[in-house]
């Protein structure tokens, strides 16, 4: 019996393919994409102010409110600013670390280093931010304990805290693509540059940086995208500051269509970013 089923399947490769593809495609295309589509459609609906029910009529009211109200514009700009700062800080830390991992570390320790860097990446988001809350606590926190003797104080909760926390969270996302990119960089190029008389910084600026540019872009897509949608970090270490994600989260239960409208902003920004990035060819290193 088993033999004939196997033979039957063997003669029909298309059926095998369909069987393999059916469930995942159904899940991803119908369920996930469908949910995203439904969200987009909902962004155009409004809420009946008495009953709180959703009026399923196509209307641009939400978008109009969102674009004209200065409060929302501020939130968007602030979130963008945070996203850019976080991306830059991650890049500054990630490049030397990735360089060490790719070029200087011994091959045996390379694997361990990669595992070490990657492991906290997957460790709980919430725990990491909670850890920073303990670190940043004014006066009694860990940062004050370590840096106090030098005279630096913890910035407390607020904008700088958000930036520090988010940079910490996304750093491994930046390290990895740069590491992969540097691994592909032949050492002979660096040797040649040195032989031709370039000093370290010059080599870095003119040889390494242009070659890892696609990796930097790949990493920045994660840091950007994740920062744009974040709402938990601001709540825990952001003090009173609001980010885009917070606005979505707050509106989620009271005015779902409006929350959907706001949610389209990060998606739109990422879409534009992705389109700009396609032209630099960075998508290959994703």
């Amino acid at each position: 019996m088993k033999g004939s089923i196997a033979t039957w399947m063997h003669k029909r490769p298309k059926l095998r393919l369909a069987a393999l593809l059916a469930a995942p495609t159904l899940w991803l295309v119908v369920a996930y994409l469908g949910a995203l589509g439904a969200l987009l459609v909902t962004a155009f609906f409004t809420i009946d102010s008495f009953t709180g029910n959703i009026i399923a009529k196509f209307n641009l009211g939400n978008f109009h409110d969102m674009l004209t109200d200065p409060a929302y514009r501020n939130v968007v700009l602030r979130t963008l600013g945070i996203a850019i700062s976080v991306t830059l800080i991650c890049a500054v830390f990630a490049i030397p670390m990735a360089f060490f991992m790719a070029k200087i570390a011994k091959p045996r320790s390379q694997k361990i280093l990669v595992a070490l860097v990657l492991t906290p990446l997957w460790a709980s988001y919430l725990v990491k931010i909670y850890a920073w809350r303990t670190m940043l606590e004014p006066n009694t926190g860990v940062m004050d304990w370590i840096l106090g003797p030098i005279g630096i104080h913890s910035p407390g909760f607020g904008g700088p805290a958000i930036i520090i926390g988010l940079s910490y969270l996304w750093l491994p996302y930046m390290i990895l693509p740069i590491y992969a990119g540097l691994e592909r960089l032949p050492n002979s190029l660096l040797d040649a540059s040195g032989d031709l008389g370039a000093r370290n910084f010059y080599t870095f600026r003119r040889v390494i940086l242009p070659l890892i540019f696609p990796s930097l872009v790949a990493g920045s897509m994660f840091t950007f995208s994740l920062t744009l949608g974040d709402y938990i970090t601001a709540q825990i270490i952001g003090g009173k500051l609001q980010m885009l994600g917070n606005v979505v989260y707050q509106n989620f239960s009271i005015n779902l269509p409006f929350a959907a409208t706001i949610a389209t902003i990060p998606v739109a920004i990422m879409a534009i970013y992705l389109w700009l990035v396609r032209r630099t060819g960075a998508l290959a290193s994703l």
């Binding site: 469908g34 995203l36 969200l39 990657l118 492991t119 997957w122 992969a180 995208s225």
Partner: protein, 257 residues
């Protein structure tokens, strides 16, 4: 070299602070801890809220991992062994749940559950949310391994007379096993820690462990127990994930990129 050391320290210090703090005897967590105690750990274990949250997290984790293993592996087979219309689109689609901000995924799924499907929130909705991005993790691992494996062993086996099912059972599956194990570990870790999407898909009644932390974060009385739970999360997720990384060294990124 020292920069690397500082970098690694920077990465691990906050996590170790959480673990150390769970033993801190001071109720307000003043640092440095003046003395240590295991009082909080025993309180946490006997806390019913924590125990319930733990069982929800475990249930969701295993279910989501199971689904992700099934769907991710079959998708990996499809993509590595066949050419078909829309192949590139599928590859992009698989990464989407993890690259879009969690808040978008969360609100989209929640909207679909409530408005379109009339599904009430519960374990099912949590699992659907988790499985959606766990698929890509298993998929990446399986795909990398399948590509490395090639089809020659399979073909040899069939030349020697084994049919498709036997070949799969005796040849393909054993070779794939460690990649699947690594992917599964990673998927479990992701699901266990997940909070961003889960706050939208869990609804008011159910708490997974991260949601429990989130709800109790600002209650000063619960603070010591929150620390213990957080420390547990660190340990419970770090170990399987480190194992998973070491197991899947053939793809440098181990499954996300």
């Amino acid at each position: 070299m020292s920069l690397m050391g500082i970098g690694l320290a920077f990465i691990y210090v906050p996590l170790s602070v959480v673990v150390i703090n769970s033993f801190n005897s001071s109720r307000t967590f003043s640092w440095p801890p003046s003395s240590f105690t295991t009082e909080w750990w025993s309180k946490a274990i006997s806390n019913t809220g924590v125990r319930k949250a733990l069982s929800w997290s475990l249930a969701a984790g295993f279910s989501a991992t199971f689904i992700a293993l099934l769907l991710g592996t079959s998708l990996a087979f499809a993509v590595s062994r066949y050419n078909f219309f829309g192949k590139d689109i599928i590859s992009l689609l698989v990464v989407l749940p993890i690259s879009l901000p969690g808040v978008v995924t969360g609100i989209a799924l929640s909207n679909a559950f409530n408005q379109q499907l009339g599904l009430s929130t519960g374990l099912l909705t949590i699992v659907i949310g988790h499985a959606t991005f766990c698929i890509v993790v298993v998929y990446n691992n399986a795909l990398a391994r399948l590509r490395r494996m090639g089809t020659s062993l399979q073909e040899a086996s069939m030349d020697l007379g084994a049919n498709g099912i036997t070949t799969f059972r005796l040849i393909t599956l054993p070779n794939l096993a460690s990649a699947l194990f690594a992917g599964g570990l990673l998927a479990f870790g992701l699901s266990f820690d997940e909070i961003v999407v889960t706050t939208f898909t869990a609804g008011p009644g159910i708490q997974t462990l991260p949601i429990w932390i989130y709800n109790n974060l600002f209650r000063p009385n619960q603070a010591p127990i929150v620390n213990v739970v957080a420390a547990t999360l660190v340990v419970v997720s770090v170990i399987p994930i480190y194992l998973s990384q070491r197991l899947s060294q053939d793809s440098t990124s181990g499954g996300r990129f």
